[in-house]
C-alpha cells in the first residue's frame, strides 16, 4: 500500500490541477462563451442572404477560379458560381435542418417518454418496446429508406430523420420521469388532488428538462453530420439549390484539379459539427455545475 499510494496519487493530482487551471469563474465564463457559439452560428445562418457576396444560383465570374482569385474568397465552381455564397446558403439549410430535427425529436420523444413514465405498467411496457425496436435498427440507413419511399426533398428528409431520432429522447425523458414519479413531492401533489395530466405537466415533465437539454445540445453535431450524409447521397433538395453535402457530392469530379470546389462545403460541415460538439460539451459542463 505504501508503495502504491504515491504512484496512484501522482496522476490524480496532476489531473486535478489541470482541471483547475482556470479559476471556477473563468471556467464558467469560458463555457458560456463556447455555448454562445451556437448563437453566433445561428446568426450567421440567419444572415446568410446578407453576408453572401453573390447570388448562389447564378454564374458571377470565370469558372474554376482558385480561392482568392478575382476577388472570390473561396473561388468559383465549375460554372462560375461563387463558392462562398453557396457555402453560406448551404450552411443556413444545414443548421436550421439540424435544429428542426432536434425540436421534432424532442417533442415526439418527450411526449412518448412523459406518457410512458407517468402511467407506467402496460403503457410504459408497450411504448418502450416500440422505442427499443427503433433503437435496434441502424438509424441512418432507415432514414435513407424512408426518404427514398417518400421521394427526395427537404421536408421529407427532416421528417425521416425525426422519425429515427425520437427514440433516444423517449428513453431519456422516460427514465427521468420514472425516477421523479417516486419522489415525495409528486406523491404530495397527487394527495393534494392534482389530476394525472397536471402531475405529468407540472411536476414530472419539468424534471426531465435538464437531461434533455444536455442530450439535445450534444446531438447537434451528430445531426449536422447525418443530414450532410443524406444530402451527399442525393436525398436533399434538387440540383441548383445550394446544400453542403450535395455540393460536395456533385463536384467530386473536380477534386483532382480544382480541389476547393468539393472541399469547401465539406469544411463548412466540419465547422458546424465542431461548433455543435464544443457547445454541447460546454452546456453539459454548465448544467453539471448547477
Amino acid at each position: 500500500m505504501a508503495v502504491a499510494e504515491p504512484q496512484l496519487a501522482a496522476p490524480l493530482a496532476a489531473r486535478r490541477r489541470s482541471a483547475r487551471l482556470l479559476p471556477a469563474n473563468a471556467a464558467r465564463w469560458a463555457n458560456w462563451s463556447i455555448a454562445g457559439l451556437l448563437g453566433v452560428v445561428t446568426l450567421v445562418a440567419l444572415l446568410a442572404p446578407v453576408l453572401a457576396p453573390h447570388d448562389p444560383l447564378q454564374p458571377v465570374g470565370q469558372p474554376q477560379l482558385a480561392p482568392g482569385q478575382g476577388g472570390f474568397l473561396l473561388g468559383t465552381d465549375g460554372i462560375g458560381r461563387d463558392v462562398l455564397s453557396r457555402v453560406l446558403y448551404g450552411l443556413q439549410a444545414s443548421w436550421f435542418a439540424a435544429l428542426l430535427v432536434i425540436v421534432g425529436g424532442v417533442i415526439i420523444g418527450g411526449i412518448i417518454g412523459v406518457v410512458a413514465g407517468t402511467f407506467g405498467g402496460i403503457v410504459d411496457n408497450v411504448l418502450m418496446r416500440i422505442t427499443d425496436g427503433f433503437l435496434a435498427l441502424p438509424a441512418p440507413v432507415l432514414a435513407i429508406a424512408i426518404v427514398a419511399a417518400l421521394g427526395p426533398g427537404f421536408v421529407h428528409t427532416l421528417l425521416a430523420v425525426s422519425i429515427v431520432w425520437w427514440p433516444f429522447y423517449a428513453r431519456i425523458v422516460r427514465g427521468e420521469v420514472r425516477a421523479l414519479a417516486a419522489r415525495p413531492h409528486v406523491e404530495a401533489a397527487r394527495l393534494a388532488g392534482a389530476g394525472t395530466f397536471r402531475v405529468a405537466l407540472r411536476h414530472l415533465a419539468p424534471g426531465a428538462v435538464p437531461a434533455t437539454v444536455v442530450t439535445a445540445s450534444l446531438d447537434v453535431g451528430n445531426l449536422v453530420l447525418t443530414l450532410a450524409a443524406l444530402s451527399f447521397l442525393g436525398l436533399g433538395q434538387p440540383a441548383p439549390t445550394p446544400e453542403l453535402g450535395a455540393d460536395a457530392a456533385r463536384n467530386l469530379s473536380y477534386l483532382l484539379q480544382q480541389w476547393w470546389i468539393p472541399t469547401m462545403p465539406g469544411l463548412a460541415v466540419l465547422v458546424l459539427a465542431m461548433v455543435g460538439n464544443l457547445a454541447g460539451d460546454a452546456i453539459r459542463n454548465l448544467m453539471e455545475d448547477r
Binding site: A148, A149, A229, T263, G266, L270, A273
Partner: protein, 331 residues
C-alpha cells in the same frame, strides 16, 4: 449463458421481422406505383391490371406481406426497376465489396480506438496527436476525410490508388468474394497487396468516426477502472502501470466499449454508402446511390434490409461477447 443466448436470438428474430414489416409498409405508403415503374407511365389499363395480378397487388394486404416474407425466406429480394434484374443477383455481386470494406473499417476502428484510449490514458509521448484526433474526429464528415485522403495520398504523394477495389484485370472470383482472402487462397499475393492498397484509404475514412466514439468510451472506463481498489492492489504487488492495464483493467473496461462498437456499426453502415461513392467502390452503397435518383425503391429497400440485418446480427454478437467478458451481465 445459454438462456441469455436464447433470449438474444429470439429478440433478434423479432427485430428482423419488424424491419421487414417497416420495409413492406414503406413500399405501401410510397407514392411510387410499382406497376407503372415496371411498365412505364403510358401502359394500358389492361396491361396494368394484368401486371397487378402478376405482382400480387390485387390480394389482401396481409397476404401480400406474407408473400413478401416467404419470398425473403427464399432469398427473393424483389426486382430492381432500374436494372430489371432480381435484386438477389445484383446485390450478390455488390455485397462482397461492401462486406470487405466494412470488415476492414471495423478492424481499423477497433485498433485505432484501443490506441487512442491507451495512448491518452497512459500519456505516451506524442499522445497530443491522439488527443487532436479524438477532438476533430468526432466532428469530421466521412466524405471530407475521404476527399482529404485522396488529395494527400493520391494527388500529392501518389502512394495509394483513389478508386475501385483492384487494378488487376482478372482477380480470383471465389470462394468468399473478399479479394484479400481469395487472393491468399489462390496464392496470388500481388492481388492481396493490390486489394489492400485500394482498401487502405476508404477503410480508414470509414473507421475514424467510430474509432473516436469507441476510443472515448474506452478511455473514460479505463480511467475510472485504473482508480479502483484492485488496480491499486496490482500496483502494490509491484506491477508496472502497463501490466496493470493489460492484465487486469482492460477486461473490466471493455464492456461499455463493446456496446459502443455495436452502436457504431450502425453509423458505419451509413458511412459506407457515402465512402463508396467517393471511391467509386463497386458495392451496395454505390448500387443504392444509383437507385436513389431513379426512385428504384425495391433496390433501396433490399439494401436497407441487408444492412439492417447485418446491424442486428452484429449487435447480438456484441451482447453475447459482453456477457462472455463479464459474467455479471445477465439481461
Amino acid at each position: 449463458m445459454l438462456q441469455l443466448a436464447g433470449k438474444r436470438l429470439g429478440a433478434m428474430v423479432v427485430i428482423i421481422l419488424a424491419l421487414t414489416a417497416v420495409m413492406f409498409g414503406l413500399q405501401k405508403i410510397s407514392p411510387l406505383d410499382p406497376v407503372h415503374a415496371m411498365l412505364g407511365q403510358s401502359a394500358s389499363a389492361q396491361a396494368v391490371a394484368a401486371e397487378r395480378h402478376v405482382l400480387g397487388l390485387d390480394q389482401p394486404i396481409t397476404a401480400q406481406y406474407l408473400h413478401y416474407l416467404a419470398g425473403l425466406l427464399h432469398g427473393d429480394l424483389g426486382t430492381s426497376y432500374r436494372t430489371r434484374n432480381p435484386l438477389s443477383s445484383d446485390l450478390g455481386t455488390a455485397f462482397p465489396a461492401t462486406a470487405e470494406l466494412t470488415l476492414y473499417g471495423l478492424i481499423f476502428a477497433l485498433i485505432l480506438a484501443v490506441l487512442l484510449a491507451v495512448a491518452t490514458t497512459l500519456r505516451w509521448p506524442g499522445s497530443w496527436l491522439f488527443r487532436l484526433i479524438l477532438f476533430v474526429g468526432a466532428s469530421m464528415p466521412p466524405f471530407l476525410l475521404a476527399i482529404g485522403g485522396i488529395l494527400l495520398f493520391f494527388v500529392n504523394l501518389g502512394w495509394l490508388p483513389a478508386t475501385g477495389r483492384t487494378s488487376i484485370h482478372n482477380p480470383p472470383t471465389g470462394p468468399t468474394g473478399l479479394l484479400t482472402i481469395d487472393g491468399l487462397l489462390a496464392g496470388q499475393f500481388n492481388v492481396v497487396t493490390d486489394a489492400l492498397s485500394h482498401l487502405l484509404l476508404p477503410a480508414l475514412a470509414l473507421a475514424i468516426g467510430p474509432a473516436v466514439s469507441i476510443g472515448r468510451v474506452l478511455r473514460s472506463s479505463l480511467v475510472s477502472e485504473l482508480r479502483s481498489d484492485y488496480a491499486r492492489t496490482a500496483r502494490a504487488k509491484g506491477q508496472r502501470e502497463r501490466q496493470v492495464l493489460i492484465r487486469h483493467v482492460i477486461r473490466n473496461a471493455i464492456g461499455p466499449a463493446l456496446s459502443m462498437t455495436g452502436l457504431q456499426a450502425g453509423l458505419m453502415f451509413g458511412g459506407v454508402l457515402v465512402i463508396e461513392q467517393v471511391f467509386s467502390w463497386p458495392g451496395m452503397g454505390q448500387y443504392m446511390t444509383q437507385s436513389i435518383p431513379v426512385a428504384d425503391f425495391p433496390a433501396i429497400a433490399a439494401v436497407t434490409l441487408v444492412l439492417g440485418i447485418g446491424y442486428v446480427l452484429i449487435n447480438t454478437v456484441v451482447d453475447l461477447l459482453q456477457a462472455a467478458a463479464d459474467p455479471r451481465i445477465d439481461v
